[in-house]
Symmetry: C2
Subunit: 206 residues, 2 copies
């Protein structure tokens, strides 16, 4: 698939997982794309944990649904009804979670490009996630980033030591389709705004 097509067709997938097992070679290519991401000082500070065991999937899903309730309890007006329609995870349906972590220790103490900006390593991990997401799209595979969780819960669930920070739970698997319109737009939560809204010349303009 062409790059621009992959960028346009990429969706945050929730309801479309078929439950079929992902071809191990496809998974390898997707993760290989992540490992080719740029990283500060070539530190490659990412960790990937593939989770398929049912008790782990179930435990994470229960936690996520409880966090969904916490968010929902704070909503008012039409947001309550609109949010009720939005599916926020496909943890069990996808059958595969890829937990992505940030390990700041992969390249020793003196990481080139990180002395002034501690979060530069965290940024690298996100670049790897986007490579993974686009590669999955090109393979016709769905990815759904779940962020309704507490980091401590996820760290303990997959056994991260204290220095590794969880960055994402990605639901990954074959999908019936990649929808044309993002879920949040389709369900009336929020639509996409044009580039012009974010673009400034020389200096930021209020």
């Amino acid at each position: 698939m062409e790059l621009y097509e992959a960028i346009g067709r990429r969706r945050d997938t929730r309801a479309e997982f078929t439950g079929e097992a992902l071809d191990p070679e496809v998974l390898q290519r997707i993760l290989g794309a992540a490992n080719l991401a740029p990283s500060v000082g070539m530190s490659q500070p990412w960790v990937f944990v593939t989770v398929r065991e049912q008790p782990t999937l179930d435990a994470f899903r229960d936690h996520v649904l409880a966090e969904r309730d916490i968010f929902a309890a704070d909503l008012v007006g039409e947001r309550v009804e609109t949010f009720a329609k939005v599916k926020i995870e496909g943890i069990r349906e996808s059958g595969l979670g890829i937990v992505v972590g940030y390990d700041p220790t992969t390249a020793g103490e003196q990481v080139l490009g990180r002395h002034a900006i501690a979060d530069a390593g965290l940024y690298s991990v996100c670049l790897a996630i986007q490579n993974l997401w686009l590669a999955a799209t090109a393979e016709g595979v769905g990815v759904g980033w779940v962020s309704f969780y507490r980091e401590e819960f996820l760290a303990e669930l997959v056994g991260f030591p204290a220095h590794i920070r969880p960055v994402a739970w990605l639901c990954v698997g074959p999908v019936a389709e990649l929808p044309e319109v993002p879920d949040l737009e389709r369900f009336g939560w929020r639509g996409r705004s044009p580039l012009e809204a974010a673009l400034h010349a020389e200096r930021y303009q209020r």
Copy 2:
């Protein structure tokens, strides 16, 4: 360009900028790719400031070179000599800086998917940067992420208000070539490690 080819050919560009002006339509496509990135709760929390004015480029470059010296002063042994060979920026040579910021206020107070993880918005900004970087690669355009700077300095330079956090300065422009081998590997700073070093099944293994 095919997605996997773009992922493989993407380089962090420093010395290869030709100084030619970037075609405005190409720039528009590259930034459009960034704006199509996934974002938590469809918040699109990114800000792009294109910088071309010479005094701004010069001021940023001076700051970056001073930060380079600070990093260099902490190195010992063979790292000193190895680092001396590494070019860390192409600010003036590229002629165009794209400053990327994180604005947490683009989608109001209740951002779907951010209540438990404050940094989820910051992650979205990084996903947009990777889209931009891959689109540039497909267009034969170089991108070099400079991270030798203090956030306060860059925020003031481009006039970010207090709530917008600078995430990156990207040098962007036509290049003579995209090198086969990353600079840090070529100069002996650090090579790439294989996916297997980062991969775990079910739980993180020490």
